[in-house]
Symmetry: C2
């Protein structure tokens, strides 16, 4: 694994066996002090053009790249952010991740990714991990922890919550106006003469499913659509969860004409169950999802669903976090609400 047999240090290609070069090496090579190298590179203090050139040359010859860990310790900023995602196997999230990543990478930030699976314990340990690593900010969609608990863990750190808010904010927020999309969905059902509808929600507790269910109930109530208690299910946000709930619901002696799901993945499971039961959609059963994942228009029947603007959510999170990092902890917390809307396809 040796390359060329040059006799002394710091020559030739930067090979596998070379030691990492430090600012002191560059300084020595250019015949100046580390201080001057630092300033030549940062531009935070004037340096004579001649020495600047010598330094740049040395940097190049030696292949110097500053050690960001040392820099971070010194300047007390890491140019990194923690992004806690619930479940990356749900196609909704990668879209958010990508948008967050792109928005942050532009500004030189790197993303530390944590997966929480919506569990309180994981949320807490990952948050602490991020804090311990001195990230400059954190983005999280809380599924178990309350905003207050999260704020207590992260201290004064810039924090963006992907979450609807009830009561105190505790952090900047990005949220989607799920209610309007769901109201449109219920109106759509009503327009088709459907008077009885069920809902498959996510796990009980503080998941977005709970709020979506509430919105659904309210919209149905407003239109006089019946939502029997036995038509409500709580399952994990997974295809398996949707299948399981779907089986139960469809086996009911009196089952609803339509079922809305708290997300598309659950809806896919429900469609599996409908197929098992030999039902044909949307005639025997109308199904509406939530999120509009990329594949929603690939499945059969094409899924009627509420568009949850993943990329916009991610971009808004990135913007909000950068703003907070720049402005410091003292300004008032902001809330950005993104619209949702129904897209009519073939399942309802």
């Amino acid at each position: 694994m040796k390359s060329s047999g040059m006799q002394i240090d710091m020559h030739g290609e930067e090979g596998v066996s070379m030691k990492r070069v430090h600012i002191g090496d560059v300084a020595a090579h250019a015949g100046v002090s580390p201080t001057t190298v630092s300033h030549a590179l940062s531009g935070r203090r004037p340096v004579s053009e001649a020495t600047r050139q010598r330094i740049l040359l040395a940097v190049d010859e030696l292949g110097y790249h500053p050690n960001l860990v040392a820099k971070s310790l010194r300047i007390q900023r890491t140019k990194s952010v923690g992004f806690l995602v619930v479940d990356i196997s749900n196609p909704y999230y990668p879209a958010v991740v990508q948008a967050v990543h792109d928005g942050l990478a532009d500004q030189g930030y790197v993303s530390l990714i944590g997966i929480t699976y919506g569990e309180a314990a994981a949320e807490e340990t990952v948050l602490r991990e991020m804090v311990a690593r001195n990230v400059d900010g954190i983005i999280i969609q809380p599924m178990s922890l309350t905003p207050a608990e999260i704020r207590r863990i992260v201290g004064p750190l810039p924090l963006v919550l992907i979450s609807d808010h009830e009561g105190e904010l505790h952090a900047d927020r990005v949220q989607t106006n799920d209610r309007e999309g769901i109201a449109a969905a219920v109106r759509h059902l009503n327009d088709h003469g459907i008077r009885e509808a069920g809902f498959i929600s996510g796990p009980e507790g503080r998941s977005p499913g709970t709020l979506r269910l509430a919105s659904f109930r309210a919209a149905a109530h407003a239109l006089g659509i019946t939502v029997a208690e036995e038509w409500i299910e709580h399952v994990p946000f997974s295809r398996a969860g949707g299948l399981e709930a779907g089986r139960r619901l469809l086996a009911l002696p009196h089952r609803p004409r339509a079922i809305m799901c708290a997300n598309d993945i659950i809806a896919v499971g429900l469609i599996d169950a409908a197929r098992e039961a030999g039902l044909s959609l949307p005639v025997d059963l109308a199904v509406i999802g939530f999120d509009d994942i990329d594949t929603a228009n690939l499945i059969t029947p094409h899924l009627t669903t509420v568009v949850n603007p993943a990329r916009e959510v991610g971009a808004a999170c990135a913007r909000a976090l950068l703003r907070r990092i720049e402005r410091g902890p003292d300004g008032a917390y902001t809330v950005e609400a993104l619209p949702t809307h129904l897209v009519r396809r073939d399942s309802a």
Copy 2:
């Protein structure tokens, strides 16, 4: 934003406004030296049970969490790894990401994620970024850079390549035996009496598409199946790419009876094109994908495809990287090859 009005430092709940507590604070509080605190916490040197208890208490009371940046600078390890993913919007990758993340998080590593979009410039800058941040290792699926170029950039760092190898290894590798899955796919076509087949590959160059195309050609040749040059397309790994290539292929005066695609996303685009052209699958056209993304069995017709074991790939990468981190740079490079196989569904 102030909470309770306690008169002096380090009391009460750890609130938003509290300064971060350092090892020295704990030491003072417990009446010992920082060294002892460090050792009490790490266990790397015996500490009397009495002082240990006092320290633990102090840690608890003050809410001490060590500053990992400072620790990293000192011990020269960050317990972080860089994971460079090509395109997280392709559902194949999140599955890999998740497996990598889980395999690494278990051992206390955090993942810095970079998205390269397969571009050489992005690959290089992200790699340098990771190196500058002193990650303990890097996992990358190279799309533009050669293994040698990557090795030159990362120096002696533990490195795992998701990539088939031709010639020198330059790093530990995880690869999939695409050839066997593709051979099975071609046999499947042959069994159905198909004698003419095309292939939609990824971008020209060093993408996995190129190797898959070569395997396809070889397998077809072995069975006497015709693969005309005009039936070969190179497009981006996207649904749009598949659609575009599909339109061209299906508009040909003499088009093939079957088309295999370098990945499932392209196949989805091809199916879009087939639908546009009013063809019914698999009778008028047989389509085979590659990857078996989660949604492959959701689309209509259910996609016949080659299973690319995303989770196993991710898990293998994590294992290989951890092994290399532990064993140091000197052992021989390893190659782990994972099998692929055909799953027959409805599109071919």
